[in-house]
Amino acid sequence: MSLPPGKDNVCVSCEFEQNLGIIREIYFFSTMPLEIVKVLAYLCAREDFKAGDYLFQQGDDDGRAFYFVSGRAGLVCSEEDTDHVVRHVEEGEFLGGLSLLGNMPRLFSLKTLTDTTCLILTREKFKKAAERYPEIMPKIIQSVIKGIRDWERKFFLSHAMGCNDCRRNLGVSLI
């Protein structure tokens, strides 16, 4: 855990406004009315991590969604004592939206490669907001469905046709 020197993480233009700008751009929340986005932006918290910190570890059900304000991290899959870096997560990326919706033990670990600042929303806070505004759930579900479909279409077109093994395991969008 580290904080920048001097004024720590207190900003002059207020953090809430910056968070609001970020949340509005995230596809997962983008279809929501402004008053709900405001509440979510308010409920988010920034957290700083040092290089090498784990944001979550494989098997954890931490129930948090991350937006990378700055820094990079590696998505790691551990199999019998060996770690494989699956891919990198870059500044401006959002991940973990699904774990806001329900229990989701992580299939990967997320480990920072540089000092990193994340905007974090927890399942508990998200659920409270969803209880107050039940109308957001159908929209979120639509975003999730679209996300899954887009993902599979992209994957199918770019890789799977050329690889027999992959082709046999296709069909996430058919869940």
């Binding site: 855990m1 580290s2 904080l3 004024k7 720590d8 993480n9 207190v10 900003c11 002059v12 233009s13 207020c14 953090e15 809430f16 968070n19 008053e35 405001k38 509440v39 308010y42 409920l43 918290a45 957290e47 700083d48 910190d53 570890q57 098997g59 954890d60 059900d61 931490d62 229990n103 033990p105 508990e124 806070k125 409270k128 107050r132």
Partner: protein, 838 residues
């Protein structure tokens, strides 16, 4: 013990009138009889005053009769008050009793009932709808007895005075008695129509509000106005009819009642002129006849009240008219102390529509054995767990615990011998300790002080807190508590010692996550007030909330040029918070980053409304004070909804030294400044140990701070004291000040503390992280091994490897059961569940 009788929902309205109130009701009737007799006396006096005293010119008789008259009026007045008092007493007793018994009954209803019932319905039934029935019960004897006796007494007196006149003036009442029910019946019909139409109207309004987008985009105002207008017109007509009948009842009653003086004047006048009736008798007759009206009116009103309240009462009772599925108490014996063996044979559970949720379940467990239930969702594993614990009543087959059939055991037997942890456990408002002892207190029946002795000790509670992994949380609650000056001198002294040690050992290492109090730095995690004063007000007039009324402090803010910027900050904070949180429920989680507390939100909402409508100079001084108070609470590190300029920061920092200087001149005892050697009462225990505040909510940083604090507290032998303080933490309504994980751990802890021979865990660790889950798993495998029979519905398969056996459910049936390794080796359903391969 409960006395046998019909269930509360089957009782008639009149049964409440007498139950428990026999003596009061008899006393009431006696007083009523006396009152009625006394009320006739003035009439007789009237007659005698005119006929004997005045006519015969006897002064002494005049005084005597007038004295009697006065005495009768005074006594009757006093008794009337006594009657009212008794009526109220009886009415309120009945209301209270109805509420308690119905509530008691509702709590025991089968779970299925609550799935179909809105909590609001129960609330309004208990609070509003029974009130009318209670009031009625208070009047149920008094009003009819009073009215009828008064009627009879006056009627008798009339007949005694003059039989012909008497019978003539009474002749109108049978007519009314005939007419009234006819009219009332029609009024009732209209009333029912009114209720239905009002409901239609309400849903029409709700519909148009929901569909307002469509109405506006289509410009369909005409269409909607017509639909709404039709309903309003219909309601209008019904209400006119209804009211006409109601007034018809009143008017015809009045009409007939006033007919009777007319009859008396005609007939009585004729008789008096002919000398067949004394003038005094005619006066008395007219008075007595007039007095018939009041009791008659009361009787009519009573009749209407009876109609209304009995409709409400029976409708309410019908709604809750279900039987509990199990006896609450064992009959004529103490609760069984069962050994933990479980035998399940051909168990089935069928719900409405013939759906079989469980089908032919058979297995058995020896005491101390443990079993994991797994399966896809919907396979019936939770239902099975709930059937074992009487939460559901199985519809076929058998479950024996300790050799006793579960469906024949009383609820208390089950409470004594089993513990159940639900997936989404419920925590009640109150302290952490009350919730921790909830199961034990319930088992020991109620909360009387005598039960305290048989409750677990602090050591036992701490042991359980550690086992369930919530110890550190409770410790943190304790660390977040405030001490009261002059109460814990010893503790205060020791905390200051802990502070020194903590600073020495960890001060440097924690510099990143703790902001230590430093006189020369702006404190981003302390509020503006603390930043200005760098201390705690000791004088009452400088205390929070009062400070702003002190001219001294306000003048100070003006002098250092802080008044205007702080006012502007308060204005911005109020507007922003109201904008973001204005529509949200007063839930703790929404207010963590807000300088406005949940209970203040409505006040600030109104204030922001006023700010929008008025110009700056028109703002009342009270509102200005509120805005300033908000600004003084602003903590830039926590409240990230408003910007905080460097200029303001510097101004505040400059004012700090000035404040210290000035206040020391003005009143040296007013403020105690933050010093390393002094305990700070306005700060939590934690902040006192840190001599600063944590900068972060990040779990990993907090854990490190906790670890270090625990180490120092252990060394100073203070851990137990702090935990004890933490147990007094108020968990909030529904436990909303606890996280989901904390609620689940607390629920496990309260069941562990009860230590029943059979423990049923229904996905009890689903909200916990891996580490906490593993900890609880290991407690089950070690501490409970052999001591309790454990059945755990598992949502994750990595937790069940060490269970004695695993049962895999599919579509309500056990498809395989056996030790984990055997089942995995057999490559059956468990293998499929665990690996996802067929």
């Amino acid at each position: 013990m409960e006395k046998a009788g019909p269930p509360v929902t089957k009782r008639s309205l009149y049964s409440w009138v007498f139950s428990d109130n026999y003596k009061l009701q008899i006393l009431l009737v006696i007083i009523i009889i006396i009152t009625v007799l006394i009320r006739v006396l003035p009439l007789e006096m009237q007659k005698r005053i005119v006929n004997e005293a005045i006519n015969l010119r006897k002064i002494d008789l005049l005084f005597f009769y007038c004295g009697l008259y006065l005495a009768a009026v005074v006594v009757a007045g006093g008794l009337k008050y006594l009657i009212n008092a008794l009526q109220t007493l009886i009415g309120q007793r009945v209301s209270a009793r109805m509420r308690k018994e119905l509530y008691g009954h509702i709590l025991t209803l089968p779970l299925g009932f609550f799935r179909k019932t809105q909590p609001g319905m129960v609330v309004s039934s208990l609070i509003t709808e029974l009130a009318a029935a209670g009031d009625f019960a208070g009047n149920a004897v008094a009003v009819p007895v009073t009215s009828i006796l008064t009627l009879i007494a006056f009627a008798g007196y009339l007949v005694w005075l003059n039989p012909i006149l008497g019978f003539v003036s009474l002749s109108i009442y049978p007519v009314v008695l005939f007419l009234l029910p006819l009219l009332q019946k029609r009024a009732n019909t209209a009333n029912k129509k009114r209720v239905d139409t009002t409901r239609d109207l309400a849903s029409k309004i709700a519909e148009s509000i929901t569909g307002i987008h469509e109405i506006q985009s289509n410009g369909a105002f005409g269409i909607e106005n017509r639909k709404y207008g039709d309903l309003v017109d219909k309601l209008m007509k019904i209400r006119i009819v209804w009211n006409l009948y109601r007034y018809g009842i009143k008017t015809s009653n009045n009409f007939f009642s006033s007919l009777s003086p007319f009859l008396i004047f005609i007939l009585g006048g004729y008789l008096a002129i002919n000398g067949r009736l004394e003038l005094g008798a005619l006066v008395a007759f007219l008075s007595a006849q007039e007095k018939l009206y009041d009791p008659w009116k009361e009787l009519i009103e009573f009749y209407q009240a009876y109609q209304d309240s009995s409709v409400g009462y029976y409708r309410t009772m019908e709604y809750f008219d279900f039987e509990p599925e199990y006896a609450l108490e064992p009959e004529d014996r103490e609760p069984y102390q069962l050994e933990g063996s479980i035998e399940v044979k051909d168990l089935s559970f069928t719900v409405e529509g013939g759906i079989r949720l469980l089908d032919g379940i058979t297995f058995s467990m020896k005491p101390g054995e443990n079993l994991a239930l797994v399966g896809f969702s919907g396979s019936g594993k939770s239902t099975l767990a709930q059937c074992l614990n009487q939460l559901y009543k199985y519809t076929g087959g058998h479950v024996w615990i300790g050799g006793k059939e579960v469906s024949e055991l009383s609820k208390r037997d089950i409470v004594y011998n089993t513990g159940f942890v639900a997936q989404a456990p419920f925590i009640f408002s109150g302290t952490f300790e009350e919730n921790l002892l909830y199961s034990c207190m319930a088992r020991n029946r109620g909360s009387g002080t005598a039960d305290r002795e048989s409750l677990p000790t602090l050591d036992e509670m701490i042991e359980i807190l550690q086992q369930t992994g919530i110890f550190v949380d409770v410790l943190r609650f304790g660390l977040n508590a405030f001490l009261v000056p002059d109460q814990d001198e010893e503790l205060v002294y020791r905390i200051v010692r802990v502070r020194e040690k903590f600073q020495r050992n960890f001060g440097e290492a924690l510099a990143d996550s703790v902001e230590f109090f430093d006189e020369n730095k702006y404190l981003y995690y302390s509020n503006i007030f603390e930043n200005i004063t760098f201390g705690t007000p000791k004088r009452e007039v400088f205390g929070e909330g009062k400070l702003l009324r002190s001219k001294y402090f306000r003048q100070f803010l003006e002098d250092v040029d802080l008044y205007k910027p702080l006012f502007d900050l308060g204005d911005e904070l109020a507007k922003t918070v109201v904008d973001i949180l204005g529509d949200l429920p007063p839930d703790e989680i929404f207010f963590e980053q807000s300088p406005i507390r949940p209970d203040e939100l409505d006040g600030y909402k109104a204030l922001v409304d006023r700010l929008r409508k008025r110009k700056h100079q028109e703002i009342s001084s009270e509102d200005k004070e509120k805005l300033l108070a908000l600004a003084l609470r602003f903590t830039p590190g926590r409240h990230k909804i408003a910007p905080f300029s460097e200029m303001l920061e510097n101004l505040i920092l400059e004012s700090r030294a000035l404040f210290r200087e000035k206040i020391s001149d003005f009143d040296p005892e007013a403020v105690s400044f933050f010093r390393k050697s002094d305990y700070i009462y306005s700060q939590t225990l934690m902040n006192n140990i840190l001599f600063g505040k944590t900068k972060t909510g990040a779990p990993h940083a907090l854990e490190e701070i906790d670890r270090n604090i625990v180490q120092v507290l252990v060394e100073e032998d203070l851990l137990e004291t702090v935990v004890k303080t933490g147990m007094q933490y108020q968990v909030g309504s529904k436990g909303d000040k606890l996280s989901g994980g904390q609620r689940q751990k607390l629920a496990i802890a309260r069941t562990f503390l009860k230590a029943p021979p059979v423990l049923i865990l229904d996905e009890a660790t689903s909200a916990l992280d891996n580490k906490s889950q593993a900890r609880i798993q290991s407690v089950i495998e070690t501490r409970w091994k052999g001591r309790a029979t454990v059945i755990a519905v598992a949502h994750r398969l990595d937790t069940i490897k060490n269970f004695h056996r695993v049962a895999v459910l599919k579509a309500g049936k056990i498809v395989e059961i056996g030790p984990y390794d055997e089942l995995m080796a057999g490559k059956g359903m468990l293998y499929e569940l665990a690996t996802g391969k067929r």
